[in-house]
């Protein structure tokens, strides 16, 4: 599927090792970022949030994600129009894997250093 054309740039840069979430460490289960990437690209996360987590008019950015407890609440019982990812279709470990993956998204360059954005 289309996920196959995804650049390896993000994955290569971070190596997709076991990555812990940056915040609220004691509340954040360890996740497998490599497995999280597979899930991200097959269960629809990228559809609204983009392969790079940049967001758009269909969903907010995932770069610099919220703390894990807020993430899991939004995933299971979304407050907005996001479809729910219940435990029946996505285990807690898989959710942790996805969280580990999105925590690797780079923020991108500073807009002030991009000439094309100085218009």
């Amino acid at each position: 599927m289309f996920a196959r054309v995804l650049s390896c740039s993000v994955a290569v840069f971070f190596g997709l090792a076991m990555v812990s979430a940056p915040a609220s460490a004691q509340d954040t289960p360890r996740g497998n970022a490599a497995n999280g990437k597979k899930l991200f690209e097959t269960i629809g996360c990228f559809e609204c949030h983009g392969y790079a987590g940049e967001g758009g008019n269909a969903g907010p950015k995932l770069i610099d994600p919220p703390a894990y407890p807020a993430f899991i609440v939004q995933l299971r019982t979304p407050r907005n129009v996001m479809p729910p990812f219940t435990a029946k279709v996505l285990t807690d470990q898989q959710a942790a894997d996805i969280y580990a993956y999105i925590s690797t998204f780079p923020k991108g360059p500073d807009a002030r250093n991009i000439p094309l954005l100085q218009n």
């Binding site: 650049s7 629809g44 559809e47 609204c48 479809p83 279709v89």
Partner: protein, 620 residues
Amino acid sequence: MSLAATKAVAADKAPAKAAVPAKPQTAGDYEAPAQTTEVNSGKIGGDFMVDCLKSLNVDYVASCPGSTFRGLQESIINYGMNSKPEFITGIHEEASVAMAHGYAKIAGKPMATMVHGVVGLQHSSMAIYNCFCDQAPAIVMAGNVGNGTQRRPGVEWAHSAHDQGIIVRDYVKWDDQANNLQDFAEGLVRAYDLATMSPMGPVMVVIDADQQEEVLEPGRKLFIPKLRARTQPVADPGALAEAAKLLVAAENPVIVSGRYTRTDAGPKRLVQLAELLQAAVVDERNRMNMPSRHPLNHSQRGAAMIRQADVVLALEPMDLYGTLNNVDDRIGRPSQPKIRPGTKVIVIGTTDLNIKSNMGEYERYQQADMGIAGDAENSLPWLIQAIEQEMTPARKSVAAARGQKLKAAGAKLILAADEQAAYAWDATPISTARTSAEVWNQIKNEDWTMASEVNFLSNWPYRLWSMEKHYHSMGGSVGGGVGYNAPAALGAALANKEHGRITVALNGDGDLMMSPGVLWTAAHHRIPILYIVHNNRAWHQEYMHVQRMANRNQRGIDRAWIGTTMHDPNIDFANLAKSMGVYAQGPIDHPADLGPAIQRAIAVVKRGEPALIDVVSQPR
């Protein structure tokens, strides 16, 4: 001489039968065979129809050929010498009408299309519906062999109807099936008149084959009515004065603009109104209404503006209910108003002057305090005048303070757009923000039109480009019939040709695959346009819809791609375009390659030719 007499004379002069000619036959050996087909030396009905089109200053007729209008087609190319109107060869009737849709929004006047009897009209019906939903004028002429005794056996019966109008009557402003040429002339002029009166829309006239091929006897008196010099309806001055009072007294007036702009006066008047009130504008972007980087353009935080408003002024709104309410796509479709209780709502527009019953394009009924019938662009000078009379120094001071806050918030919106555009700047697939920024970098110093709907690119052009002139953008299909963008953009490019203006279409891959033949039309007619294919290899909107159903039903969430994606094999848009004579590059999936590719393509477009770049893109 009658046909029977002609045959008798020919038989008398026929040479005696010889077993074998003594020498090779030459043209002079035999008399001409009996005439079996009449020939004409005078004017025919189709010529008169061309005169009618010329009287209306119709520049183009887009059409995919069909025998039910062969008479008029021959008249256009021989009697009219294929000039005003010029025959534009379409590859599909839907594309022909969609071209007319885009053309009208840039040219400010309709072009014509011809469609084959019954089958061509049905092909074109989707594009006619889009025109209707978007209130865009188009003249659709449908061939027909109305007299059953004159039809050839077989398919000509399948291509004729007693009442063709019924096929599209739910979504044209008017249709006509003339009984004779005089009737046709009056019907065509009336159709043009109605199509261009607000609310504008498509019209359909039947062009009968007998009338097209009819020989006009010398001295036959036919006349073409003069088109009325049309003015658009202006709102009631008393109602505008009342609206002015509400707006001046408001603490947070908000202006919503939908299909508001018709001419170059549109954006200028809206800016004048917004600055006078120091009111935020939420542009629904159905037309180029409010300059995109004006400090009072707060479209990007439209919902927040609506929630704060105590008076909402809606100018030709497309979906006012949707603007003023939240309707979540959840089980039960829960809805709640965005506006606060007590918020006054004023509507100025013409949509309600042409409501049809069957299709739901008129959207859910939104209650309002004032519904003022009138063309908004034409009515604005009178509203502005009424506001100026109402404005006191104290209210000016309140407005100025409000304006300062809005200006500061507007500046933050621009900075936020730049920051968000940077997030996936170097990502592959290429981000829609990066693509938009790269295109803007190449056209910002040119005269240009962005001729596609870009909500599937997260509206980045509206956020990153400086759109000011009324032709810088033109909204979308409104009807949502996929396959609008590529031909409508080509129609816009056709209108831009005489101005030497660059037309850019950021075109979805699914949309382009609905009518790829437009690429050939672009090449054949040397219509300069740059297609940037937003190639996310999916019908991505539907992908998300199926994902929503899968998550809701909890029976598997990893198969939503089935039936919603276009991969295996990937479509090679560059080679598709090249096969039809269009300069093309791609697939491009590295951001650094995009800028140079666009630069090369723009050079081709400046030479007066079409170009295409296939950009492998992020989903949105």
